[in-house]
Amino acid sequence: MAVPLVYNLRSIRRRWSSSIIAVLGIAGAVGVFVAMLAMANGFQATLVQSGSPDNAIIMRAGASAEMVSVVTLDQEHIIESAPGVRRRDGGPLVSPEVIVMAPFPLIASGADANVQVRGVSASALAVRPQVRIVQGRFLKPGLTEIVIGKNVPSTYRGLALGKTLRFGGGTWTVVGVFDAGGSAFDSEVWADTAILDQVYNRPANVFQSVTVKLQPGAFSRFKDALTADPRLNVDVERESEYYRKQSQSLTTLITVLGTLVGIVMGIGAVFGALNTMYSAVAERSREIATLKALGFTPASVIVSFMFEAVLIAAIGGAIGAVAVLPLNGYTASTLNFQTFSHLAFAFRVTPPLLAGGMVFALLMGLIGGTPPAIRAARRPVAAALREL
């Protein structure tokens, strides 16, 4: 039979000043751990949401990102006529695009940061139906007009609806704001491809990627057709997979960093828990001996003190998890290592993350509770009963 739980609950409350050290230590470790993973989660989700599984992105073979890819107009024509391309009103849903970087001052620091400027045609919206104009209108072909993602006005100085600004040697007017559903496009500026080529003195008829909307289930057929075509030397990927890969390095970095920081803080918290539980065992040495004298087994004493440690850890874990909840949806921006442009993303504190944080807390409680619990169980009863 176990030692009654009320004994542990009330003991924690009675020794609250000692318990609070362990609780706060564990809360801090869990909070940082969950916050870092929420950041990685948000970053990854932002990029992964950018890609649609129905879309394929075509780049030069071996190119890891659009910035280092080249697709010519001839190749684009071949892609348009490949099997599996979805068509609307007789025309293929294909968006040949160019990418340039333009520096703009960040509102937060005033320092310049790169914005990814995407040269698009009217078909860009048809290929990416998740992108909606929420203010103003879409750009008109042949004009130095730009539309900006919804995160851009709040991130960069001077990039707002109706503003006229200079970059890349041209003067541009912001005519619209689009919402791309929390994806990476929300951090981009879109301009007309032909105008962008002219302003940046880029060769005409050369793109960096072509994004294609495919018929359902047609990806393999489409990919096989392009990769088998001797006129093309391209890689074909699902757009969702491309963006997932884009997110991988930074997500991994943040996850590893977050886990490391969490573990380091966790080690500190475990020592806090050890300290709390060792002092609990020392202070209650006679109580433990009494329980054993009454007939409670060493195993039940271990379970009792482990339960107490785990309970302290659970309280700490819950406090840590609740403390980071307000971070959910908080938008931050960072440099995307793949594109060297700034990317805004929202922290995502998800239930699995919170559950992970609680598991982390309980683990700390178990590790911090086990040695003191074993000490409590091993202490000879007769000697402990004589202690004052």
Binding site: R14, L291, K292, A293, G295
Partner: protein, 239 residues
């Protein structure tokens, strides 16, 4: 009948040739040597002796909290000296009621919950446990204090709660280690009256270690521990 010559028969507690030696560094320190004791059911016996004479050691051995170096202890037919630690724990829960000098109540539990502790090791239902606890607290005269915490009770009341905890499982015998050592005179008298009542009215077997002659004289027999063996000192009040 209480005997120290090792010739008792069919006694509830039969101790034969009991020895306990502690080892400190390279040195053996004998505390008890060739000790014999027979105690019948319903007897009360007090052990006295100077500090370090082995009184508490004897109590710990009788209560299964420690194991002897030599000899045997039989309680109601059970030879406890060769029991495993696990069996000894179970045996202790069933047969021994402990009363300690400093009461050893768990401060975070109420009087009721403290007294209920030993019953948690039985198969009794919640309602049966409640009946037993209420009865035990009534016997010690504290039925009206069952929901009080130890800090809300006087020293004498705490010790009476501890006695209720010791008797609640109706153990084979009670072991009391200086039960009045931490009490003022009047509280000590209350506790001694209660122990005497348990012997006289409820037929309990009580073994107590004490420095207090007034406590010792209430027992059926007073035994002195001298050089590791028991010596009959004088007859107690009821002998």
């Amino acid at each position: 009948m209480i005997r120290v010559d090792g010739r008792g028969e069919n006694s509830l507690i039969a101790v034969r040739n009991l020895g306990k030696t502690y080892r400190r560094g390279n040195q053996d320190i004998p505390v008890l040597q060739g000790l014999n004791l027979d105690v019948d059911a319903g007897d009360s016996v007090a052990f006295m002796g100077p500090s370090g004479s082995g009184k508490s050691t004897l109590l710990n051995l009788l209560g299964g909290l420690d194991v002897p170096t030599t000899g045997s202890i039989r309680v109601g037919g059970d030879e406890i000296t060769h029991m495993s630690a696990g069996r000894l724990t179970t045996w202790r829960a069933r047969h021994v009621g402990f009363v300690f000098q400093m009461f050893n109540l768990l401060p975070v539990l109420t009087a009721f919950q403290n007294v209920e502790l030993p019953l948690l090791l039985t198969r009794l239902s919640r309602a049966e446990r409640r009946d037993h606890v209420e009865t035990a607290l009534s016997v010690v005269g504290l039925a009206d204090r069952m929901h009080h915490y130890p800090r809300e009770l006087s020293g004498g009341q705490e010790q009476r709660v501890a006695i209720a905890r010791a008797i609640v499982t109706d153990p084979t015998f009670l072991l009391c280690d200086e039960p009045t050592g931490d009490l003022d005179r009047s509280s000590a008298d209350e506790v001694l009256d209660l122990l005497a009542q348990l012997v006289a009215e409820y037929g309990k077997t009580v073994l107590l270690v004490t420095h207090d002659p007034r406590a010792a004289e209430r027992a059926h027999m007073l035994l002195h521990l001298d050089k590791g063996v028991l010596v009959e000192a004088q007859s107690g009040a009821h002998a």
